[in-house]
């Protein structure tokens, strides 16, 4: 029978959605049985104690984890989050309960042999509990002891050719959407760009030299399936410059009802017959579409590539062929100054390996941020504090209307002295000759 009573948690075993409690109990059992005869390097009952301390939190309505301690692997400033229980006597199995962030493969594609290797390692040297995946994208190994950290790192790198991910004031583990690997909307190779930059910036990822964390996320198109625009200091969003490709026959097939709109995404309800006018043309945010008899027309110059029409008629409409990406900067969660989404900095940039242009922009941003950023000041906060103009100067990008949703409505323009003929220094006495006091 269980080491700790968990009456509250037990109530989370019922109901259809996969129960993490049931899963933890099964894991506790597996470890207790230990049919694989693993020489557990951390307490066998670690999961029982994890259930126990969690039950206590359910009882108290408060966490029982101490404030994070600084632990890690030699030479790295990130990848490990230290954690200690505030009731170690009661729950010795989780007295130490550090997490390790393992840098996930692009697109989160796996082959089972590799996954099994990770499982073996984690059963052997950790709790066997993971997050697949953490919010940033890493594989999260949840719970091990301090002595095991180096051992795990050593085996990861030596046996499995696998590195840790980021934490602390580093570049954080970049993440991408599935993109070209399985998506017809992808405007560039998200996995390749993500991988290339991750490798290029390993030093920034492992060794804290930044004012604060910094995140990259790669979305193949404006649908933003990895939510880059909401949660990455630089968001790379695929787009195109030329025209949406139209297959007029397929358009007719949608109109005729042979093809299900939005690839069947609305199959759960009878929305009535598909109405291209109502469902596509009228919803186009720029009103740049219309029917000419039986042909669908798009004034591509006015299109803002919102993806709606393509999403609704994927078999009739395809993204353009002159592709690249937009870079948006500064997205972050609310702490401290309030949340930000990415603000458009580079409307269009080519995304072909080796991506030199993109690296130049990234590095000019970092130079500025490392120069001007305060401790724990995210890029977005620095841009807010010093103004978007400073960012343009730092990156050598010319101001264009695409940078704004609307021009300023306050006329408080900070003119620089060299912009104003005659400069700022004037002679009051000269002035007073014409203007008595």
């Amino acid at each position: 029978m269980a080491k700790h009573e968990t009456p509250l948690l037990d109530q989370l075993e019922s109901g259809p959605w996969p129960s993490f409690v049931s899963d933890m109990k099964q894991q506790a059992e597996v470890r207790a049985k230990n049919e694989a005869n693993t020489e557990f390097q951390i307490p066998t009952d670690v999961v029982e104690d994890l259930l126990g301390v969690l039950e206590l939190s359910y009882k108290h309505g408060r966490t029982h984890w101490k404030h994070g301690g600084i632990v890690g692997v030699f030479g790295y400033g990130g990848g490990v989050i230290g954690r200690y229980c505030d009731q170690p006597e009661q729950f010795p199995g989780v007295a130490h309960f550090h997490t390790m962030r393992v840098n996930q493969p692009g697109g989160k594609f796996y082959k089972t042999d590799y996954l099994r290797e990770l499982c073996d390692l984690w059963d052997f040297r950790g709790s066997g509990i993971t997050n697949m995946h953490g919010s940033t994208g890493d594989i999260v190994f949840l719970g091990t002891t301090t002595p095991q950290l180096e051992e795990i790192f050593y085996e990861l790198t030596h046996k499995y050719n696998q590195d840790l991910g980021g934490s602390g004031s580093n570049l954080r583990t970049p993440a991408d959407c599935v993109g070209q690997a399985r998506c017809e909307y992808a405007c560039y190779d998200t996995q390749d760009l993500c991988y290339t930059l991750t490798q290029e910036y390993q030093d920034e990822l492992h060794r804290p030299a930044f004012p604060y964390k910094f995140k990259f996320k790669f979305d193949g198109c404006p649908n933003c399936c990895v939510a880059s625009i909401a949660r990455s200091d630089i968001s790379f969003i695929g787009t195109w410059k030329d025209n949406i490709r139209i297959d007029q026959e397929a358009v007719q097939a949608y109109i005729g009802g042979e093809l299900a709109p939005n690839a069947g995404a609305h199959s759960g309800r009878d929305w009535g017959a598909f109405d291209i006018q109502k469902e596509v043309i009228d919803l186009c945010p720029t009103n740049c579409m219309w029917m000419e008899g039986n042909t669908l027309k798009i004034d591509d110059k006015e299109c803002t590539r919102c993806m709606h029409c393509i999403n609704v008629m994927p078999r009739a409409l395809r993204i353009g062929e002159d592709r690249g990406l937009s870079m948006l900067v500064g997205a972050k969660a609310p702490i401290l100054d309030g949340a930000q989404m990415g603000s458009l900095l580079v409307p269009f940039i080519s995304a072909e390996a080796p991506y030199d242009e993109i690296k130049e922009v990234i590095e000019s941003i970092w130079d500025w941020w490392m120069e001007e950023g305060k401790n724990r000041e995210r890029l977005g906060e620095l841009i807010k504090r010093q103004g978007f103009q400073r960012l343009l100067e730092a990156t050598g990008i010319k101001a264009v209307p695409q940078h704004v949703q609307e021009p300023r409505h306050n006329p408080y323009i900070f003119w620089k002295e060299d912009e104003v003929p005659g400069g700022f220094t004037r002679d009051i006495n000269e002035f007073r000759k014409h203007h008595l006091r």
């Binding site: 996969p18 796996y110 919803l283 078999r315």
Partner: protein, 382 residues
């Protein structure tokens, strides 16, 4: 348990050290069909909730079966997933950005077999191990965070609130009846690990009491200047405090009426804990989105200022969420996201239709931008 070395030598940490190698390269794990057709996909179709087919220019078809799961996973569970992948997918699978599992198959009939198989897999407690769904205009898995499982700052639990919510929304995980995507996210404190600030529905853990001050230890355990600098509202100032034993120590004082409980001071200083059984609970936010489809991305808006932590199943919270989902489902147009719907009918109607009470807490009063959320027009609905 005897300590078994990996080969690492503590006395010579740099001895044949391997570092800076990054992740495994993506293409090591591509299924053959992906490797072959990458960048050449023509279109896709959702055959049924949770089942996708992507068709390539070559005519190849790649089938995907998407399954929900608690992203808090044991190796036992992962091994079971591997068994399945080996049986039906030559060992290929992936995870989605919302922590769903995707089995990638190369033929339709394998799909049917797999579906039957998955349907049968349940935990002892009775819940499904790998429910199929999460596609299209349904409700997918909840992106969430650590909560009481691992973090030091949560105001609520993550896994529990998510399980309770997904049980209530389960039918819509397996259905496409929503007007559009409906994304639910969860973060256990204001740090918002995840994208709750831009979700259709966001569950947020929130503290409501200013930090306790552990004066006796504060100066020993914290960099006082860092704690002071951490406060966005400048509520913290240095102060000398006389302890019970008469000894005076350097510590801090908090202007309580200036505190909005962000916990940022605690992040910097362990001697300023906020957690409190009565103070902590849930804030509900709605109407956010991240896609650029039709409308620009939107922040979620706070529509319920506080719901107490009701362990283990948070019934008030799940009832409220269910009410919002049903009101949205009944009221929104096809393709219309929750936030787009609320803006179209006006927030005054949103509160009416969702039977939510509007309180002064929901009016923005944080810094200059607050002004732009008030109503500068005579246009409103009674």
């Amino acid at each position: 348990m005897a300590f078994i070395s990996s080969g690492y030598d503590p006395n010579e940490p740099m001895k044949d050290r391997i570092s800076d190698i990054g992740p495994r390269k993506y293409d090591e794990f591509y299924p053959p069909l992906v490797a072959k057709n990458k960048g050449k996909w023509l279109y896709h179709e959702i055959l049924q909730p949770g089942v996708l087919v992507h068709v390539a220019e070559s005519g190849d078809e790649l089938f995907t079966v998407r399954c929900g799961g608690a992203r808090l996973m044991s190796t036992a569970h992962i091994r079971e997933i591997c068994d399945i992948a080996e049986k039906y997918c030559d060992g290929y699978l992936r995870f989605t950005t919302r922590n769903n599992v995707e089995f990638l198959l190369d033929s339709k009939d394998k799909v049917d077999a797999l579906l039957k198989d998955l349907e049968g897999r349940k935990f002892d407690g009775g819940s499904y191990k790998l429910p199929v769904g999460g596609t299209g205009s349904g409700i997918s898995n909840i992106v969430h965070t650590q909560g009481w499982i691992h973090c030091h700052t949560p105001a609520t639990d993550a896994s529990g609130t998510v399980k309770a919510t997904m049980d209530v929304l389960f039918d819509d995980f397996k259905n496409h009846r929503m007007p559009a995507h409906l994304r639910v996210s969860m973060a256990c404190c204001l740090n918002m690990c995840g994208a709750v600030h831009c979700s259709d529905i966001a569950i947020l853990g929130y503290h409501r009491k200013p930090p306790m001050l552990d004066h006796e230890y504060l100066d020993k355990m914290c960099e006082i200047p860092l704690a002071i600098a951490a406060c966005p509202t400048a509520a913290i100032r240095p102060s000398k405090v006389e302890l019970a034993d008469g000894k005076t120590v350097n510590s801090v004082a908090v202007k309580e009426e200036r505190c909005m409980f962000c916990g940022n001071c605690y992040t910097m200083c362990p001697s300023m804990p906020l957690a409190d059984a009565e103070g902590d609970g849930i804030v509900l936010m709605v109407g956010g989105k991240v896609s650029n489809r039709i409308s620009a991305p939107k922040f979620s808006k706070v529509v319920v200022a506080f719901i107490p932590n009701e362990m283990p199943r948070w019934p008030t919270m799940t009832d409220t969420i269910k009410r919002i989902v049903e009101a949205y489902s009944a009221g929104a147009n096809k393709y219309e996201r929750l936030g787009e719907w609320a803006e179209r009918i006006g927030w005054e109607r949103f509160f009416e239709k969702c039977e939510l009470e509007f309180t002064h807490h929901l009016i923005d009063d944080f810094r200059d931008p607050a002004y732009y959320t008030w109503r500068q027009t005579s246009q409103f609905k009674f």
